[in-house]
C-alpha cells in the first residue's frame, strides 16, 4: 500500500478548483430560495456535498474519525433551534407561532420574503450539518471496527 490517501492528484486539484464555486452556488441557492428554485434544503445539501467531496478526494477516513463531531453537532442543533426561535419570535411580534413578522419590501428582492430567507438559512445550516454528520458517523464506525 502506498502512503498516498484518497484519489489521484488530478481529482484533488479539480476539487480545490471547484470548491469555491460549489460553495457560492450553495449559498446562492439558499439565499434566493424564495425567488428562484431551490431553498434551504437544497442549499444545505450542496454545502454538505462540498465537504463530502473533499473527504472523498483526500481520503480522510482517519482524519474524519479523529475530528470530533462537535462543530457539526452544534450546528445541527443550532439550525433546528434557530428555526424554532424564528417561529417563537412570531409570537412576540405578531401573536402567533411562525408568524411572518418582517413582511414588506419590494417584490423580487432579497428582503421581500420577511422571515423566509432567515428560515432558509437556518434550514441550510441544519441540513448541511446533518448530512455531513451521517458521513462522519459512518466513517467513525468503519474506523472503529
Amino acid at each position: 500500500m502506498n502512503n498516498e490517501k484518497g484519489m489521484s492528484e488530478i481529482v484533488k486539484a479539480i476539487t480545490s478548483l471547484v470548491a469555491a464555486s460549489i460553495m457560492v452556488f450553495g449559498i446562492n441557492i439558499t439565499f434566493y430560495g424564495h425567488l428562484t428554485p431551490g431553498g434551504g434544503f437544497a442549499g444545505g445539501l450542496i454545502l454538505a456535498f462540498l465537504f463530502i467531496l473533499y473527504y472523498l478526494a483526500y481520503g480522510g477516513d482517519e482524519e474524519l474519525a479523529k475530528l470530533p463531531f462537535k462543530v457539526n453537532h452544534i450546528l445541527d442543533s443550532a439550525g433546528a433551534i434557530g428555526f424554532l426561535f424564528i417561529g417563537t419570535l412570531g409570537i412576540h411580534f405578531g401573536g402567533r407561532f411562525l408568524y411572518n413578522f418582517m413582511k414588506g419590501g419590494k417584490a423580487f428582492h432579497l428582503l421581500s420574503g420577511g422571515i423566509i430567507p432567515l428560515e432558509n438559512i437556518a434550514i441550510c445550516i441544519k441540513v448541511g450539518a446533518s448530512i455531513f454528520l451521517v458521513f462522519t458517523v459512518l466513517a467513525v464506525f468503519r474506523r472503529e471496527k
Binding site: K70, H73, I74, S77, A80, I81, L84, G87, T88, G90, I91, G94, G95, R96, F97, L98, Y99, N100
Partner: protein, 496 residues
C-alpha cells in the same frame, strides 16, 4: 388557547438542547444534568396539559385562516389523550434516572424521547391530515431509534422488523392522503370533511379509507397486523417499552384511526365500525391466547397490549356513545396499568437481570413495592373491582349488550377471564412463592423507580373515580359527542 403550540415547541426545544449535553465530558455530571433538564421539561409539559383539560379551542399557525393555513385543534377527544401522554412520559422520565444507568449516551436517549413526545403531542393536536403524517413520522422515527437503543442483537433485529412494517404503514397513509387530496384539493380536516360530505363518495374515497385503516391497524398492532409488536416492545429499554405500549400505539394508531375515519370521513356507522369490531375481537382473543404461552415477562405483556388494543377497538367499533366512552376510558386506563406493568418488569430486570418468569420467584418478599404495585396492575388489567380496568371493561361489555351484540359481550368476558389466568401465572411464578437461591441478594428497586411505580399504582385506584357523574360528564360525554357527531367538530373549528 395561546398555550397550544407550547405542547410541540417545549419538547422540541428540549430535544434540541439536551442533545448538546454531549459535550459534558464527565459521565456522572452529564447524567445528573440531563436528568434534571429532562424532568423539568417533562414537568412543565405535564402542568400545561393539566391546565388545558376540559377546555377546547383552535390556534391558527402564523395567523393563516382556514383553509390555507394549519390549525391546532384542542377538542374534548384530544384533551384526555394529551394529558395521559404527558403524564406517562413524565413518569417514564423519572423511572429512567436509574434504569438508564446501564446504557451510555443518555443525552441522545432523552433527545429521542422528547422528539417522540413532540411527535405525539403534535399529531394529537393537529387539524390537518398531512401535518398528522409529518408528526406521526417524527414519533415513529424516534421510536425506531429508541427500540434499538441498546444496539445488541435482539434489539437491532426487532427494530429493523418494526421499521420495515411501520414504513409500509406510513406509506399507505401517505397514499391515502394523496387520494384525499386528489378528490377534495384540501388538506385540513374540516374542509376535507365538508367536501366529502357534499359529494357522492366515489370508489377512490373508499380505497383511501381502506389504506388508512390498514396503515393505522399496523401502527396500533391489531391482529393480523401485529407481527412487529411482540418483538419491538420487549426489546426496548423498560421506560420505552412502557411508552410504546401505553401511549405510542394509542396515539399513533388508534387515535389517528378514529380521528380520520370517524371525524374526517364521518363513517361512524356501517362498515368501518364493523371492520373495527372484527379486528378488535380477533386481537382480543388471539392476543390473550398467545400471551398465555409466554414465559418472557415483557413479551407476555406485549401480547397483552395486542389483546387490550382489541378491547379498545371493540369499544370504538360499537359506534354507540356508550361504546365509544368505554373505548376512550379503556384507552386511558390501559395507558396507566400497562406502563406500570412494564416499569415493574424493568425494576425486576434492573435488580435481577432476567426477564424469564421461570427464573423468578418470591420477588414480592424481596421487592415489596414492586410486588405490591404489580399486584395492583395485574388486578387492574384483569378487570377486578375496584381497580380502573374493571370499570372500563364493564362499560364496554354493557355497551355490547345494549347495542344487541350479546356474543361480543361473551367474548369480552372470556378474554377478561383468560387475562386473569395469565396474570395469575405472572404473580404465581414471579412474585409469590418461595424465594429462589439465586435471588437471595436482590434488593428493592431504587427510590425514583419506587416513586414512579407508586404514582402509577395510585392512579390505577384513582382512575376508577372517573366514573363519578361530574367527571364522567366533563370528560367522556363531550368526547363521545365529538367522535360521533361530525357537526360538533365542524362547529368547534369553524366557530359557528
Amino acid at each position: 388557547m395561546n398555550i397550544l403550540p407550547l405542547f410541540v415547541t417545549i419538547p422540541l426545544a428540549g430535544a434540541f438542547v439536551v442533545s448538546l449535553f454531549d459535550f459534558i465530558k464527565d459521565e456522572k455530571k452529564k447524567n445528573i444534568s440531563t436528568n434534571i433538564f429532562a424532568s423539568l421539561a417533562g414537568l412543565v409539559l405535564l402542568v400545561i396539559s393539566i391546565k388545558v383539560i376540559g377546555s377546547a379551542g383552535v390556534y391558527s399557525m402564523g395567523k393563516w385562516k382556514l383553509p390555507e393555513g394549519i390549525v391546532l385543534v384542542l377538542d374534548p377527544f384530544s384533551g384526555p389523550i394529551l394529558l395521559i401522554t404527558n403524564l406517562i412520559s413524565f413518569i417514564c422520565i423519572l423511572f429512567s434516572f436509574d434504569y438508564m444507568s446501564g446504557y451510555n449516551g443518555r443525552e441522545k436517549y432523552y433527545s429521542l424521547f422528547f422528539l417522540m413526545v413532540a411527535g405525539m403531542n403534535g399529531l394529537v393536536l393537529t387539524g390537518d391530515i398531512f401535518n398528522l403524517y409529518v408528526f406521526l413520522e417524527i414519533a415513529s422515527v424516534a421510536s425506531y431509534a429508541l427500540v434499538g437503543f441498546g444496539t445488541m442483537r435482539e434489539e437491532i433485529e426487532a427494530t429493523f422488523k418494526y421499521m420495515v412494517l411501520s414504513s409500509v404503514a406510513t406509506a399507505f397513509m401517505l397514499l391515502g392522503v394523496a387520494f384525499i387530496y386528489g378528490f377534495t384539493f384540501n388538506l385540513n380536516m374540516v374542509s376535507v370533511a365538508k367536501a366529502l360530505g357534499s359529494m357522492e363518495a366515489p370508489v377512490g374515497v373508499y380505497v383511501a379509507l381502506g389504506l388508512f385503516i390498514i396503515g393505522f391497524s399496523i401502527k396500533s398492532a391489531l391482529i393480523p397486523f401485529h407481527a412487529w409488536l411482540p418483538d419491538a416492545h420487549p426489546s426496548a429499554p423498560a421506560p420505552i417499552s412502557a411508552m410504546l405500549s401505553s401511549v405510542v400505539i394509542k396515539t399513533v394508531g388508534m387515535y389517528s384511526l378514529i380521528r380520520i375515519c370517524y371525524v374526517v370521513f364521518g363513517m361512524n356507522t356501517g362498515q368501518v365500525p364493523e371492520v373495527l369490531r372484527v379486528l378488535g375481537i380477533l386481537s382480543m382473543m388471539l392476543g390473550v391466547l398467545l400471551a398465555l404461552g409466554q414465559w418472557d415477562f415483557k413479551r407476555l405483556l406485549a401480547y397483552h397490549s395486542v389483546s387490550q388494543m382489541g378491547y379498545i377497538a371493540l369499544g370504538f367499533g360499537l359506534g354507540t356513545p356508550l361504546g365509544v366512552i368505554g373505548g376512550i376510558y379503556h384507552l386511558l386506563n390501559h395507558s396507566v396499568f400497562k406502563s406500570l406493568l412494564f416499569l415493574n418488569s424493568g425494576a425486576v430486570y434492573y435488580r435481577t437481570g432476567t426477564r424469564d418468569l421461570k427464573e423468578m420467584g418470591g420477588l414480592g418478599k424481596k421487592m415489596p413495592v414492586t410486588g405490591a404495585t404489580s399486584m395492583i396492575a395485574s388486578m387492574s388489567i384483569a378487570g377486578i373491582p375496584p381497580f380502573n380496568g374493571f370499570w372500563s371493561k364493564l362499560i364496554i361489555i354493557m355497551a355490547c349488550i345494549k347495542s344487541s351484540h350479546p356474543w361480543l359481550a361473551f367474548w369480552a368476558v372470556l378474554g377478561s377471564i383468560l387475562t386473569l389466568a395469565s396474570f395469575l401465572k405472572v404473580q404465581r411464578y414471579g412474585f409469590l412463592g418461595k424465594v429462589k437461591d439465586s435471588l437471595r441478594n436482590v434488593k428493592e428497586a431504587p427510590f425514583m423507580m419506587q416513586v414512579s411505580m407508586i404514582t402509577l399504582a395510585l392512579l390505577c385506584l384513582a382512575m376508577g373515580g372517573l366514573m363519578l357523574p361530574g367527571l364522567y360528564d366533563l370528560i367522556f360525554v363531550p368526547a363521545a359527542g365529538i367522535i360521533l357527531d361530525q357537526a360538533q367538530y365542524l362547529k368547534l373549528v369553524l366557530g359557528n
